[in-house]
Subunit: 210 residues, 2 copies
DNA sequence: TAGATTGTTAATCGATTAACAATC
DNA sequence: TAGATTGTTAATCGATTAACAATC
């Protein structure tokens, strides 16, 4: 079977949707429930499960517990992982305290900054100097890091982290970090995202037909 | 009218590619050149231009200057726009002060929060109560808003903003805001982005595929 | 059983690519 | 002209959706 990025994204959506339902006390779901919660069609949910050989019960739907286990088996377990954030400016500090980054699957454990003594506010994890990065990472098997340093040093920081064995990056700097072999980069370009919205809106308002 | 997000994204890629070529002193390009620079196929470039009624010269290619004007005409100029952020928690406050949101093309002009008096820190724009939202937006033609409220009220806030005429959204809440006709939503699901990275890393290490 | 939902196949939709006539 | 490139149509590809038989 070919590797389908969109399918992976949907699978994680299902997982999150199921966790939410589970937290509400729901034990059993139908494809329709998952579809609604994840924002796709019921057909697609069943089709995806079919491709992945995930079986439910005809008429009985799916047991959330089993379904979550099946999905977790496929995407691989991600629990007890740790992440760090490099660059503790406005965004970096907000990310440190971001609730979603202190979850079952992964935990934000440290921030790094060029001048940690100036990083203000009460934070949910310690902030160290950039010079402590190597020492900190050694033996810790940190797979994922967030880059929220100024644009002009992002590439340099990226290279350093790759050398130290980090495999996945969430990049907030407005530069395109090139994915190299075995390394994955998700670029979060907030400025571009906003600009794109303006373009979509303008494009639509002009009524340019396609 | 159909609206194709991917097409707009490609259009912006062409624009960037053309600007790069222009800066190199290139005056005339063929669909092949654009394709190479933008990372798509020549067929697609010509097909896109055909759909957008952008004409070149048979055998003569495209004049970069004219082409850039045509594309800019289509996506529309974006300058002097204003945006707001609704929800001034960690993320919201960081976004208010985010330098990229005080640019030539658009400016962050206000934040809104359910309890504005508790929003701390020195911010680069004022923060108002949610009850001031309607009054503030009336007559201001704010096209884009950032949603960074708690997950459980995101949908409600979204509906309200849509009713008040906002057309584009950058959504940081971990809920799927459905795009309705004429409204665009860019979901920034940070948690999912990180989980995705772990999956890709697991995938690579295990060599499994789906 | 009667009713409801899965699982899969077929139909549909849309986007990309290929091909090539038009034409400069 | 001869050659090269556009512009458009047709073919292909893949993903999504619809339909419904299987079945609990």
């Amino acid at each position: 079977m070919t590797f389908n990025k969109e399918l992976v994204v949907r699978l994680l959506r299902y997982k999150n949707a199921l966790l939410k339902l589970k937290n509400l006390g729901v034990l059993k779901v139908f494809s329709d429930n998952i579809a609604d919660t994840a924002g796709v069609t019921a057909s697609q949910v069943r089709k995806d499960f079919s491709l992945l050989k995930i079986a439910g019960n005809k008429r009985g739907g799916y047991q959330i517990k089993e379904l979550l286990e099946d999905i977790t088996d496929i995407v691989g377990p991600t629990s007890g992982e740790s992440i760090i954030v490099v660059g503790c400016g406005n965004i970096g500090r907000a990310l440190i305290n971001y609730k979603g980054f202190h979850s079952e699957t992964f935990e934000m454990i440290a921030g790094f900054d060029i001048s940690p003594e100036t990083v203000s506010g009460s934070l949910t994890c310690p902030v160290y100097g950039m010079d402590k990065l190597e020492e900190f990472l050694l033996g810790k098997n940190i797979k994922v890091a967030i880059i929220s340093v100024p644009d002009n040093v992002a590439a340099e920081v990226y290279d350093k982290l790759v050398k130290l064995g980090v495999k996945g990056f969430l990049n907030f700097a407005r530069v395109n970090l090139r994915e190299i072999d075995g390394v994955f980069v998700n670029n979060v370009n907030l400025e571009l995202s906003i600009e794109n919205l303006f373009y979509y809106i303008n494009f639509m308002e002009k009524g340019t037909s396609i």
